[in-house]
């Protein structure tokens, strides 16, 4: 069998070779990286011996500093030290105007997107997050002694399409292979569920520094099924701090604070919040004065109460969405540092009428879950029984006449999902059409989040109403949307131009990659070559496996053609010609498209035939 010789020794991964994978919790306040070693998922320590990396990036004129060292400069170099960048991910400049007097750095408009003016020039949230990701990946490679094959990065379940895409772009910029974006509550459930063997319906209450998520999941026999999810991607412990600062400002009568004073006040607020977790009252000196003041826990709780109420309202909504009541919930899992606040715990306990679980460190549980899934996805754990079924957090819709939205995919639909919608032309000879895709629950387009505008071109000219364009919206397992369109009678594939409302275009990401300090021109080309080689290996491996199993589905001519294509691909792969490798991959794919479809059909039949046999 010539086929078996395709994987040359040392070129393709041996089946039992352990691949390096990590789970990354890219948090608003802190970030962590974890991995599975000897069957156990653990967070990894950096050079300073810490597993929590403050999500803080400082730009100096000639360097980029991430983590604790950056935190130390948060007050003195406030303009160049960026905290909580996660809040800015996937946001437009106009959406962040309200933050302008809350943050000490200068927000600027970068082609509609928000960015920050630093001593190193304008940096956007994707670039800043990439620095954090690169630092974490570095910790992992150093600990594991090799480059990572892939990572799972967690995002709040309530992140919309632009925020997810921005996270993925950041990973790309950091040079990471993203196996999956995983929702934080799902990751927590995975860590928790596998740890305890719990079955039944659980609620995951995740209050981080800047985001709030509540998810209802059903756990049974290795299946983690998200029933509904909700939350607020702009509500978290940071808001508790700001509420305390506002109160302190009222005490002092300082209506506006300098950037440095604001950072000092925020630090004080955080201290107050943490101290009052254990004690009932606290005296302190107000920054920039010699005045002292005292706050009691109940006073601070009054300041936080409206925010906590908001989270409880969201809890009620997700239960309704899942058609369940609090009586159906067997356990409540607490995730995120802000769930240490006693008021949060007591309100959650009261609402769900059960004492919430805090047995796994709420700061680490997400990273641990991500590491478990990364280990599975990279291929280290064959025959795993775990299956994660997640949902889309916010409805996807289209703008229709009069600025109204028409929902195409309702929230809490299981992903991946594809829904098609038909449109017709309303003018004779019309060859183009514009679509506006939005995300959100409100009826008016203006109240939803604009995701992208699509222009369909190349519609064959026909009389009005003659052309039927079928537009398919597909959301993948990461929760990311893609759109395709086809004219039905002629089968003409309409050309789609995407203008993301709050995202970077592919070209912009490519340019950022090129410009980034980490990739000199040579590196860039080497990287593209490496990417194609890896893909070539995957194709060779996949097709060889398929032939081994199902060569019987092919005629002799087809089989010979595919074998020839594989042999060619194996040779071309050794070259350094990126374009030639790409062409050989595409050739192999075209030749095996039918084969893949036939295997898929057969696979569906056998999956269920086996089922019937089991039953009988």
């Amino acid at each position: 069998m010539a086929l078996l010789q395709i994987a040359e020794p040392g070129q393709s991964a041996a089946p039992h070779q352990h691949k390096l994978a990590a789970g990354i919790d890219l948090g608003t306040t802190n970030s962590l990286v974890a991995t599975v070693r000897s069957g156990e998922a653990k967070t990894l320590l950096n050079k300073e011996g810490m597993d929590m990396l403050p999500s803080i990036v400082r730009y100096t004129s000639d360097s980029v500093i991430v983590g604790n060292a950056a935190k130390l400069a948060a007050v003195d170099d406030a303009e160049n030290t960026i905290l909580s960048v996660k809040r800015l991910m996937g946001k437009g400049y106009s959406e962040t105007l309200a933050l302008n007097d809350k943050v000490p750095y200068q927000l600027v408009d970068q082609q509609g997107l928000v960015a920050i003016n630093t001593v190193q020039g304008v940096k956007n949230p994707v670039e800043i997050s990439a620095e954090i990701l690169a630092t974490l990946a570095n910790t992992a490679s150093e600990t594991l002694g090799g480059e990572l094959n892939g990572v799972v990065i967690t995002v709040p379940a309530y992140f919309d399409d632009s925020q997810r895409q921005a996270t993925k772009d950041a990973a790309k910029l950091a040079g990471l292979n993203v196996l999956r974006l995983l929702n934080e509550p799902t990751a927590a459930a995975l860590a928790y569920g596998l740890d305890s063997g719990q079955e039944g319906v659980i609620a995951v209450y995740d209050l981080g520094g800047g985001t709030f998520d509540i998810s209802i999941l059903r756990l049974r026999r290795g299946v983690f099924e998200v029933l509904s999810t909700g939350g607020n991607s702009a509500l978290g412990g940071d808001d508790f701090d700001h509420a305390i600062v506002n109160h302190l400002q009222q005490l002092t009568g300082h209506s506006s604070l300098s950037h440095q004073a604001m950072r000092q006040y925020l630090t004080l607020a955080r201290d107050i919040k943490e101290q009052l977790t254990d004690s009932d009252s606290l005296s302190f000196i107000l920054p920039g004065s010699d005045k002292s003041a005292t706050l009691t826990r109940s006073e601070v709780e009054q300041l936080m109460a409206p925010l906590v109420k908001k989270t409880i309202r969201a809890c009620r909504q997700v239960l309704r969405d899942a058609s369940l009541t609090t009586a159906d919930i067997v356990k409540v899992v607490m995730v995120g540092g802000s769930t240490r606040v006693p008021l949060v715990r007591s309100e959650v306990a009261e609402f769900f009428a059960t004492e919430p679980l805090t047995s796994i460190d709420p700061d680490k549980v997400v990273a641990i879950g991500a590491a478990i899934q990364a280990n599975v996805l990279v291929g280290n754990k064959a025959d795993t029984d775990t299956l994660l079924l997640d949902v889309i957090p916010l409805s996807l819709g289209l703008e229709t006449m009069g600025g109204l939205t028409e929902k195409i995919i309702p929230r809490n639909t299981v992903i991946p999902v594809a829904r098609a919608q038909e449109f017709t032309t309303f003018k004779d000879g019309q060859t183009a059409m514009a679509l506006h895709v939005v995300q959100g629950e409100r009826e008016l387009v203006d109240d939803c989040r604009s995701l992208a505008r699509f222009e369909l071109r190349g519609i064959p000219p026909m009389s009005a109403g003659g052309a039927h364009i079928r537009v398919t919206f597909q959301v993948d397992a990461d929760g990311l949307l893609s759109v395709t369109a086809q004219e039905k009678s002629t089968g003409v594939q309409a050309n789609i131009q995407v203008k993301p409302s709050y995202g970077l275009s592919d070209d912009q990401v490519a340019t950022m990659l090129k410009n980034s300090m980490q990739y000199a021109r040579q590196d860039m080309q080497l990287r593209l070559l490496r990417e194609q080689q890896v893909e070539a290996e995957r194709v060779l491996e996949a097709v060889s496996q398929a032939l081994k199993a199902d060569a019987a589905l092919l005629g002799p001519t087809e089989l010979a053609a595919i074998r020839a294509a594989l042999a060619n691909l194996a040779t071309v792969k050794q070259s350094e010609d990126t374009a030639a490798i790409k062409a050989a991959i595409e050739h192999t794919n075209t030749l095996t498209d039918d084969f893949a479809a036939r295997r898929m059909d057969q696979s569906i039949r056998t999956a269920l035939t086996g089922h019937n046999v089991d039953e009988v």
């Binding site: 299956l387 991946p416 995957r538 491996e541 569906i604 999956a607 019937n612």
Partner: protein, 174 residues
């Protein structure tokens, strides 16, 4: 696409939902993109499309109205995207009355009691229609299929009223 065939289940309205659920999970285990993360780009794309199909099929068979619509579509009667007005004066009158009751809830002294009584009424009517629908679909004649289509149209009104009632209830709670 025949969703019943996908799950290898008989094309009937009275479907064993537990069985449907377990077959759904079986297909998911085989095709979910997470099972193909090491595959080639094309294979990963296929996995996404296939899983999307499976999800869609499951969603459609799980819910009685969509399941009935799919059954009729398989018999050549498509009603899912029809634009047609409904002309059954007695039925429309009944709908209007129910709608008026909904509108009055917020002004009433005891909204919970009214909500409960409307909910009971809706549930009862819905169950009756669903039973009739099951019978009509069982017969498999062109005439009964038309009757089934009419019942589906009526049921849609009730499902809509029910979600509106839920919305009112939510607003009162919040």
């Amino acid at each position: 696409m025949n969703y019943f065939q996908l799950f290898n289940l008989p094309a009937t309205f009275e479907l064993d939902l537990t069985e449907l659920g377990s077959r759904y999970l079986q297909l998911q285990r085989r095709f979910h993109p997470d099972q193909h993360s090491a595959g080639s780009e094309r294979d990963r794309l296929l996995a996404v499309q296939q899983t999307a199909n499976i999800n869609d099929a499951y969603y459609s068979l799980k819910q009685p109205l969509l399941r009935a619509e799919h059954l009729l579509a398989l018999r050549g009667l498509k009603i899912s995207h029809e634009q047609r007005s409904f002309t059954d004066p007695v039925f429309l009158m009944q709908q209007m009355e129910l709608r008026e009751q909904l509108a009055e809830i917020s002004q009433s002294a005891d909204p919970d009691a009214i909500i409960n009584s409307i909910e009971r009424e809706l549930q009862q009517q819905k169950n009756q229609l669903l039973q009739q629908l099951a019978n009509a679909l069982e017969t498999k004649s062109a005439e009964q299929d038309q009757l089934a289509a009419d019942l589906i149209r009526k049921l849609k009104f009730f499902f809509k009223l029910q979600s509106e009632l839920e919305l009112i209830e939510q607003q009162l709670q919040d």
